[in-house]
Symmetry: C4
Amino acid sequence: MLEELKERVCKANIELFNKGLVIYTWGNVSAIDRQKLLIVIKPSGIPYTELTPDQMVVVDLNGRIVEGSLNPSSDTATHLELYNNFDEVGSIIHTHSTWATIWAQVGKDIPPLGTTHADHFYGSIPCTRDLTENEVLNDYERNTAKVILECFKDKEYTNIPGVLVNKHGVFVWGKNPEEAIYNAVVMEEIAKMAYYTLLMNGNNKKIEKYILDKHYLRKHGQNAYYGQNIHK
Amino acid sequence: MLEELKERVCKANIELFNKGLVIYTWGNVSAIDRQKLLIVIKPSGIPYTELTPDQMVVVDLNGRIVEGSLNPSSDTATHLELYNNFDEVGSIIHTHSTWATIWAQVGKDIPPLGTTHADHFYGSIPCTRDLTENEVLNDYERNTAKVILECFKDKEYTNIPGVLVNKHGVFVWGKNPEEAIYNAVVMEEIAKMAYYTLLMNGNNKKIEKYILDKHYLRKHGQNAYYGQNIHK
Amino acid sequence: MLEELKERVCKANIELFNKGLVIYTWGNVSAIDRQKLLIVIKPSGIPYTELTPDQMVVVDLNGRIVEGSLNPSSDTATHLELYNNFDEVGSIIHTHSTWATIWAQVGKDIPPLGTTHADHFYGSIPCTRDLTENEVLNDYERNTAKVILECFKDKEYTNIPGVLVNKHGVFVWGKNPEEAIYNAVVMEEIAKMAYYTLLMNGNNKKIEKYILDKHYLRKHGQNAYYGQNIHK
Amino acid sequence: MLEELKERVCKANIELFNKGLVIYTWGNVSAIDRQKLLIVIKPSGIPYTELTPDQMVVVDLNGRIVEGSLNPSSDTATHLELYNNFDEVGSIIHTHSTWATIWAQVGKDIPPLGTTHADHFYGSIPCTRDLTENEVLNDYERNTAKVILECFKDKEYTNIPGVLVNKHGVFVWGKNPEEAIYNAVVMEEIAKMAYYTLLMNGNNKKIEKYILDKHYLRKHGQNAYYGQNIHK
């Protein structure tokens, strides 16, 4: 069942490790088949160096295990809630990558301070509010998704494919596992650059809206002219 | 004698090097056989790239060499005093890993600033007081353990498996060499994240107790639901 | 056509990646044949790990594609405008390398704070002004070169082979692709050292003019005495 | 002539590169044969990846080339002046390693902030004063040694085997090339740790003299008890 997607999800999980975004078992990649409404996700607590495609767990949107002998990631409920609300997302990643997590611990949005940011994220990358005690005690992982969704009430999740979870880590997404990995690597690099920029210049100004537009739209949408597959 | 434990201790010492926690001869791993009350420890001053299991030194709890032709680590007395007091510890590691040592030089406890910390350490990681001149001049290595033990008068060493020794470095422990290595790698990463969080936000708040509980207990104890071997 | 130059430009692009100056497709190298007035440049959006010499695009100084089936780098117009004005430049590189980009986001010139800088850059490395909205909306890439040229009205581009583009990244150049790569690596290291020097000592003094002269001229020009090919 | 020493000096130069202390041609190792009063030193401007033992240059204490077809390091006069004054030194290294150079640019001594420092350097690592214009214009490289020597008027160069040259880089030494490399790697790590300690705690206290003594003398001198060759 879903053999090709399992291969890609397995490979993306291993790629998290190869790109230095995770150590041991500190992150997970999932992907959804929107026709079958089934999610493929990393099993909980298995090191990346031992992962095989047949270990991937298949769950439905209610979190019921449809296939697989291992427990799915303990963050599965967060993934599911995001898939339920972000219709165009095909793959979701959670990590504690160093610089994104430092930002999450600092507890602030990452402002767009340069074109590297603008090339990939069309505005500030939000940081969620803290969860309340009640939200932590009852259905914690689903509530983690809910505070993420609050951040995107007035932002497009398709233009800003990532979020900091306050004092926790990062969730990133994309159309498919390969794009989600790309966004996770990019967000880590942007988080690092923004950290050091603000450490030196505490009150650094955001880039102008017209630069943000230029760079984001040079790479995305109908008038993009970057790369080989433009105007499609 | 203790061939299997020597293999594991040797491998763990080499792993310290492979994980980037030590250079040259700047750290050591030991493990105890609680039945025989014998400790296996790295020989002093031998580089990791040349270590072999038969070079491991076997000492008793008084520090007498029971087997081995090399001198044991010069920190042996610290290890022994900790084994004498921490009944559930099976392996101890000492390093000067970069970020933990920077924290030790800063001389403050590492507060729990995020869930990465809470997943592994159930509260602040303490930093010892300075040793007095008398404690340094007489039985220095054993007194190093004694100031560590002071830190755990009102903390559980099983829940907080590591400590900063003021202006010195770090001691970390676990049930066995593999768990101790895991804790040493985790503590180094947590030290780095906490450093940069506080550098940006000097007065950063600790995470709430209910988040600390949630994350620590999601992974440890009777109600844990992380990984594949839960509820055991 | 220009097979040897394509080989060198392809190799230099791959070297950008191997030296850690770029990830994915975040930079490009070009070179010019000054006899034929043709430029060889990286195709847009192709990863370094897949680059082959025959994919390099050949354009004339007006940006018309003379050979190649792929789109040239979206930054091509910046390269061309620089070749048109910097007669002695044979190769140009654009990257978002981490430390140079952090400096560009900080938005200040990199002052000469040590002899490592003085050995390679004969004075401050300038940072451009921001582009106006009009300059961004109309002919953005060519205008990026124009604000670079403004910085060199009173500086020698041959002595200071690099520039920060405000809130964007870095352009570096040299007589040929190999020298340009060398300058790009050096500028990244200098940017890092200068960052940490100023972070500690906010008002750090520049090196004295007589040290700047000594170190730059020890390595460059008629009286150089560094290396094996001196006095030539 | 001096074939064994050439082998070791060549290997040590390559080791500088492998340990990440230099890029391209940014450093050099020499060693002296105290019987023959001849120095073996790296040729100027040759990359480490191409170095062979027969390229090493042999010079006498006046800097005359005794053997070798290449120019010796442009820093040769600094090495010679140090050998002339530091009788027990057998090998000298000069680099622009990142953290030591940042400290040199900051322009302050590295205070002993922890036992990692005390294990290897018996007190602060000094930073030279700036050279005057006259000292730079006339016999610059020899004068670089002279400001180093000023730092050791009231310090033992055998106990503090390294120095920061203001706004420049680092010189390190040892009994032989292998010990000098060790000291260079250690000093880079100490410089990094001290930087981050002081960045967080601007007015950090030095370690107590009794800790400095304990750690330095645990590893060095007649009462050392670290390693396998103690009491010799």
